[in-house]
Symmetry: C2
Subunit: 94 residues, 2 copies
């Protein structure tokens, strides 16, 4: 997995097919900041070129088999990095 955004986008798409615009809106909701077109589309292109994403007729992206595999790798390192995530949460919730 390369970047933070790549990982997050893979995760979002794994939950449901999305267009670039939809992804941008969702990222704004979550992070509080909408990525510019110059950010989002190159990332999507990169992921597609790597064979992690495929696009349907309505320009909605979904994960390929390889994309799912890559996401799983990303999830693993994510939870290794944040191995104490429950502690983080309880620390946050007060």
């Amino acid at each position: 997995m390369k970047g933070f955004l790549n990982f997050l986008i893979l995760w979002l798409i794994s939950k449901e097919k999305m267009t670039g615009a939809e992804i941008a809106v969702e990222l704004e909701k979550r992070k509080g900041h909408k990525p510019s077109p110059g950010t989002i589309y190159p990332v999507l292109k990169e992921l597609k070129d790597k064979g992690l994403l495929s696009m349907d007729d309505n320009k909605r992206y979904s994960l390929t088999k390889q994309g799912k595999k890559e996401l799983e790798i990303g999830l693993n390192t994510f939870f290794e990095t944040f191995c104490d995530i429950d502690e983080m949460r309880s620390c946050c919730k007060k």
Copy 2:
């Protein structure tokens, strides 16, 4: 909060006082990659200059009051960004 590494370092230090070297080792354990001196020390300096960290006589860093506040902000956006983290975990565990 600025970068990913800054956030992670704040979190680590919040759990226990650490030196730069100790932080580097812990990051290697978690992410599988040890940051170089040229990465870790400038970050620590930046956080110290911003008043988020203080250093004791043994060069161990700990969070200042402001650092704790900043960490809390970071934790909040973290869990907003990964609002479906339980889903991520269950997806990972198979």
